[in-house]
Symmetry: C2
Subunit: 396 residues, 2 copies
């Protein structure tokens, strides 16, 4: 089993510490959430990961100490019998006087926050989630390599769809085959998303009008889901000929995600949908071309929207009516919904090392969705596309 190298962890921690020093606010960050623990410690445990502004981090492990020590390259990993011991253990590590500490306010439940507060009644807590998310925007070559592997699984999923798709299959039946193929190629199954309530099971696989069903998600695709209990994504609709079938299933391996969407049909698609799909490929290429260091995320989105307008899709680009969303992409890494968002309201600068999923899509009301999504690495030169399946509509 491959462990996150010490050099990777050191670099990530140093980047967080640089932000803590620059911010001159929190003296340390306490980390609890699974994706954040994996990112900074290389392992997920029931633990407190304490990253001070200066000096080595300390991981206090309720369980499993043995697994933490085997999986993490961090140096200071100690057993924690009871959370009441945390203040004493911090003091013994030279971290006794912390007055102001950052926490993952965007994911930490109120109860857990209150428990931390009771252990440190005079400590002040501030939101460190933006710092944590910012540290993640630039991926190392080590990380990019893992995203590439996730993208290869996505290509296998697309290939499997071509093998098994038949008219009359339900979306769910098709998904069963694609998901099995993903697992046979090492897909970790669970998709990590940071946003509250964002329960992602692989992603979306939508056919015909199901691709145009709006949902609560801040996403161009909705879908009926299987029931009102899990009411986004695929359902049990039977796939027919001459309609768009979009496979937007994330890859995930060794904790890293990749995002790709591809379009298929059984027999030819109506002309206007083919044209819409071709327009999405053109918009994708234009967005990729604009992903240069120094560009702003909001500008990239504005350019995509302007292109969609010029091509005649102003009212259908990234969904329609109240379901229309003002974004065209997002970061991917140890979570599927990383920053930056290529969104109207973001002024984050594009930087080398960012890995971005770009997903121009066009909705045809009551008929379906067309479009494409690639995951792209920003470099000093031309961005590099990490997803590998051909973008063209596949007519079967």
């Amino acid at each position: 089993m491959e462990l996150t190298p010490r050099s990777e962890l050191d670099d990530r921690i140093a980047r967080l510490q640089a932000r803590l020093i620059a911010g001159n606010d929190a003296e340390a960050v306490f980390i609890f959430q699974a994706a954040d623990l994996f990112f900074f410690a290389g392992t997920v445990q029931d633990a407190w990961l304490v990253i001070p502004r200066e000096g080595p981090p300390l991981m206090l492990v309720r369980r499993s100490l043995e697994r933490a020590q085997a999986e993490s390259a961090l140096e200071h990993i100690l057993p924690l019998g009871n959370p009441r011991e945390v203040p004493k253990l911090l003091a013994a590590h030279g971290l006794g006087g912390l007055k102001r500490v950052g926490l993952e306010f965007d994911v930490l439940p109120v109860q857990q926050y209150a428990r931390v507060g009771r252990l440190f009644p005079t400590m002040q807590f501030v939101d460190a989630s933006h710092l944590i998310r910012e540290v993640r925007v630039r991926k190392s070559p080590y990380e990019v390599e893992r995203i590439r592997r996730a993208a290869l699984i996505q290509d296998r999923m697309a290939a499997r769809l071509r093998e098994v798709l038949k008219a009359g299959m339900t979306e769910l039946e098709l998904a069963a085959e694609i998901e099995a193929e993903a697992r046979r190629h090492g897909h970790q199954g669970f998709i990590r998303a940071r946003r509250f309530n964002l329960e992602c099971f692989y992603g979306h696989l939508l056919s015909g009008e199901n691709g145009a069903v709006p949902s609560w998600m801040d996403s161009p695709t909705g879908g009926t889901g299987l029931s009102p209990a899990f009411n986004t994504g695929l359902g049990t609709r039977r796939i027919q000929e001459n309609e768009p079938i979009m496979l937007d299933y994330a890859g995930a391996v060794d904790g890293y995600h990749s995002d790709q969407a591809r379009l298929f049909s059984l027999g030819p698609l109506p002309e206007d949908m083919v044209k819409g799909h071709t327009a999405c490929i053109a918009i994708l290429e234009q967005v990729i071309g604009s992903l240069r260091p120094g560009a702003r995320a909001g500008e990239v989105f504005a350019r995509a929207r302007a292109a969609a307008d010029r091509l005649g899709y102003a009212d259908r680009f990234m969904n329609t009516g109240p379901a229309q969303v003002a974004f065209v992409g997002h970061g991917v890494g140890v979570e599927l919904d990383e920053i930056p968002y290529l969104a109207a309201n973001s002024d984050m600068p594009i930087e080398t090392g960012m890995v971005l999923a770009v997903e121009p899509k066009i909705v045809f009301p009551l008929r379906g969705i067309v479009g494409v999504e690639d995951t792209v690495l920003v470099t000093t030169g031309d961005p590099e596309v990490l997803t590998v399946s051909p973008r063209e509509l596949v007519v079967l």
Copy 2:
């Protein structure tokens, strides 16, 4: 698509309101989390569900209003353009003077809590998560029916394992086939768990010594997982002959879960493991026999542990050493980890209508895990077992 009947929602809301009146604390509860929205409104949306102590609930929907209205039997569902409008909309609904409101402190992120606080600067907030969880402990016949359907999918998963298991397959390869079968029978895929960081992908499928690998989970089974990023459950170990193979994959359909574990082997298991498995079946039967209204959850656990002690498994029952857990079961419903816990520290009374997963397991260090799990409905008479696969070790 089947909707939660109005009578179900009314009953659930009435039970929460009775608790609010009895507690004489919060005047209303604001609900945001997916499972809770589904339980009380019959739909998951980006929404505020406001349940006052008296009178009808109000659902304010950012999106999708159309889907909320189609999926929920609630009467008062209104559009919410911007959260800033919430105070005004509450006032218009006769809920303008709320001073003290309950929130889901166990799942609500601090950021979201702070946003609610900014909208209602003089409001006091209290933890309503225990109330919400308590309302759920007694399942209606409607709910039990759905849990039964989830259990039937688990039986299909067990049958599929028998069809495809071969020596030399990896756990992941075996899982691919079982997961596909689950989906073909309507499994919703996503498993809802309430606990922070509890990322469940179907559950655990563990062979040989992987069944004895400890993890951070508060569970008898751990497993290596596929990588330190997702480090519980199955891995890529090759399944061999004469070792225990435990399938502990949850069923989930229409938002309801069922929990079952079954044991398999290729060729005979070592004698001591067979004996351990037989002991677990005996303990399971004893626990089921003790699930009578009025018994306490902690007593049920104590009796299970006493039985394990008598049978000679004091140090291996529900794991070993520091990984040993003082529990033998848990509620299941719209989340996999509902209360009560059949745990040493619980004094919750057992009530009719409770649906409990009982999972006596015995760990053989470095060799594997044996045991069994059934999901059981508490009645006024004998408890009814909802899971349907035979409990005996299946030797293939």
